[in-house]
C-alpha cells in the first residue's frame, strides 16, 4: 500500500477544469475553421484537431499519462491495428486495376495495360466505384 496517492492519481481540480475548457475551445475552433475552405487541407485540419482532443481525453481524463505504461501500450496497440486494417484495405481499394507502371515499363511499349481510368464512364450495370472500374479504360499506348 505504499505511495497510495500516486497509485490512485488524484489530480488537482484545476487540471480537470483546464483540460475540459481546452476541449471546448478546440471544439469551437474546429467548427469555425470548418466554415472556411482550405481544399484538401480541410480533412487534415479537422482530423488534427480531433487527434489533439482525443489525446487530451486519453492522457488526462483516462489517466494514461500517470498510469502504468502498459495501458498506454494496449491503447496504442488498438490504434496501430486499426491503422493496419484501414491502410492495407486501401492498398486494394485505391489501386484497383492499376499495375505499377515502373515495373510494367519494359512491357509498356508493346503492351496494352489494364489500368486506372482518367475519365469515368458508368457501366451498364451498377458499379460502386465508377472512378475505378477498368472496363472502358483499357488504354493503349500506341
Amino acid at each position: 500500500m505504499k505511495d497510495d496517492a500516486a497509485q490512485r492519481h488524484i489530480l488537482p481540480l484545476n487540471l480537470y477544469l483546464a483540460v475540459g475548457s481546452g476541449l471546448l475551445v478546440l471544439t469551437v475552433i474546429t467548427v469555425v475553421v470548418a466554415q472556411m475552405d482550405f481544399g484538401p487541407m480541410n480533412l487534415l485540419i479537422a482530423m488534427g484537431i480531433a487527434v489533439i482532443k482525443a489525446t487530451l481525453v486519453a492522457m488526462f481524463f483516462m489517466h494514461l499519462k500517470y498510469d502504468n505504461k502498459i495501458y498506454m501500450l494496449v491503447f496504442s496497440g488498438s490504434l496501430l491495428f486499426l491503422g493496419v486494417f484501414i491502410i492495407f484495405t486501401m492498398f486494394d481499394t485505391l489501386r484497383r486495376g492499376d499495375i505499377y507502371e515502373e515495373i510494367a515499363e519494359p512491357y509498356l511499349k508493346e503492351a496494352v495495360i489494364y489500368r486506372k481510368a482518367e475519365t469515368t464512364t458508368a457501366l451498364s450495370h451498377p458499379a460502386a466505384d465508377t472512378s475505378n472500374t477498368a472496363s472502358d479504360t483499357v488504354t493503349s499506348d500506341h
Partner: protein, 314 residues
C-alpha cells in the same frame, strides 16, 4: 522437374504454364530437401537418444546463437528468391499483350457465355485460335464466379460490379476444361466449360460460319448439339429426374401446373417463350432461376431445340 509435372500438374497449354511450373518445381524440390532433412533428424534423434530403462539423467544445456541466426537467415533468403520469382511471373500473368483478341466472358448461374468482337457468341464452349494471345474481359450477372483453366494456369474471379481481366496464349490445339472455382450455389460443381483451341484457319472458319445445322444434320440432331452447347443440360435432365429445372423427357405435350396455379400444355410457343422470357410462366415447384437466352440463341437454334425436345418421349 518433369517428374513433378507428370505427377502433379496438368498439361502445359499456354505460354505462361511452363514458367509457373518451373517455380512450382523449384519450391517442390527445396521443400522436399528440407522436409526429408527435418524428418530424418527427428527419427534419428528418437532412436539415438531413446530413454533407456525409464531412467534419464540431467545433461548440460547447449545454446547456439550462431545456429539460430543460420536457420533464420537461410530460409529468409530462399523465401525472398521465391517471392521475387513468383512476383515476376504474376506481373506477366497480369499484363495483356497488345495484339490480343478480346472476348467478353459472362458468368452466371451456372454457365459461361462468350461474346466475340466479330459478333459471334457461344455458351459453355470457348473457341480460340492457337498461338494468339486472347484477352478475357469478364463480368458476372449474379454472384461471384471464378474462371479457371488448369491447363493454362489462369484463374480470375468474375465479379458482379466490375470487369476483371485475364489473358492466355494457347500453345497447343485440343480441348481443355474450364471450371468455376468460386462457390456460387447449387450448380457450382457443374459450371463446367471447355476451351477448344483450333488452328488459326479453322478458327477463322468457325468464326465466319453462322449458326444452323451443318450439312446433312437434321434439326433434331442440331437441337441435341445446342442442348449441350448452351448448357441446358446443367439444369434439365433427359431421364425424368428432377434437377434445377423440369426434365425434358416427355416434356412436349405434357400438362404442367404453373407457379400461379394455372395449367398449360407444353407446345412450341411455350418452349420458345420459356427460352426467351423464362420468368413469364414457370412450372410450379421450381425456383425461378432460369436465365434468358435472348440475344444468345437465334431462331434457328430455338427451332432445333424444339425439334429435339419433341423427340424426347417417355
Amino acid at each position: 522437374m518433369d517428374t513433378t509435372r507428370s505427377l502433379f500438374l496438368p498439361p502445359q497449354g499456354s505460354t505462361v504454364a511452363s514458367d509457373v511450373d518451373a517455380l512450382f518445381g523449384f519450391i517442390f524440390w527445396i521443400s522436399l530437401f528440407f522436409f526429408v532433412g527435418v524428418t530424418a533428424l527427428t527419427v534419428y534423434f528418437c532412436i539415438k537418444y531413446k530413454r533407456k530403462d525409464g531412467k534419464s539423467e540431467t545433461t548440460p544445456y547447449i545454446e547456439s546463437m550462431a545456429l539460430e541466426i543460420t536457420w533464420i537467415v537461410i530460409p529468409t533468403i530462399l523465401l525472398m528468391v521465391i517471392f521475387v520469382w513468383g512476383f515476376q511471373d504474376f506481373v506477366r500473368l497480369h499484363i495483356v499483350p497488345a495484339n490480343s483478341m478480346e472476348i467478353k466472358v459472362t458468368g452466371q448461374k451456372w454457365f459461361w457465355s462468350y461474346n466475340y468482337e466479330e459478333g459471334a457468341t457461344g455458351v459453355g464452349e470457348l473457341v480460340v485460335p492457337v498461338g494468339k494471345p486472347v484477352k478475357l474481359l469478364m463480368s458476372s450477372k449474379d454472384v461471384i464466379h471464378s474462371f479457371f483453366v488448369p491447363a493454362f494456369r489462369i484463374k480470375m474471379d468474375v465479379l458482379p460490379n466490375r470487369y476483371t481481366i485475364t489473358w492466355f496464349e494457347a500453345t497447343m490445339t485440343g480441348e481443355f476444361e474450364i471450371y468455376c472455382t468460386e462457390f456460387c450455389g447449387k450448380g457450382h460443381s457443374e459450371m463446367w466449360g471447355t476451351v477448344k483451341v483450333l488452328p488459326q484457319d479453322e478458327f477463322d472458319k468457325w468464326l465466319e460460319a453462322g449458326s444452323g445445322p451443318g450439312e446433312g444434320e437434321s434439326m433434331k440432331d442440331y437441337g441435341a448439339r445446342m442442348f449441350v452447347k448452351n448448357a441446358c443440360n446443367t439444369c434439365h435432365s433427359l431421364d425424368g429426374s428432377k434437377n434445377v429445372g423440369p426434365t425434358f423427357q416427355g416434356l412436349f405435350g405434357r400438362r404442367e401446373v404453373m407457379s400461379d396455379g394455372t395449367a398449360i400444355t407444353v407446345d412450341e410457343n411455350y418452349i420458345r417463350e420459356s427460352v426467351l422470357n423464362p420468368m413469364a410462366k414457370q412450372v410450379a415447384g421450381f425456383d425461378p432461376v432460369m436465365p434468358t437466352y435472348q440475344g444468345i440463341l437465334k431462331d434457328v437454334d430455338i427451332d432445333g431445340l424444339i425439334a429435339y425436345i419433341k423427340s424426347l418421349e417417355n
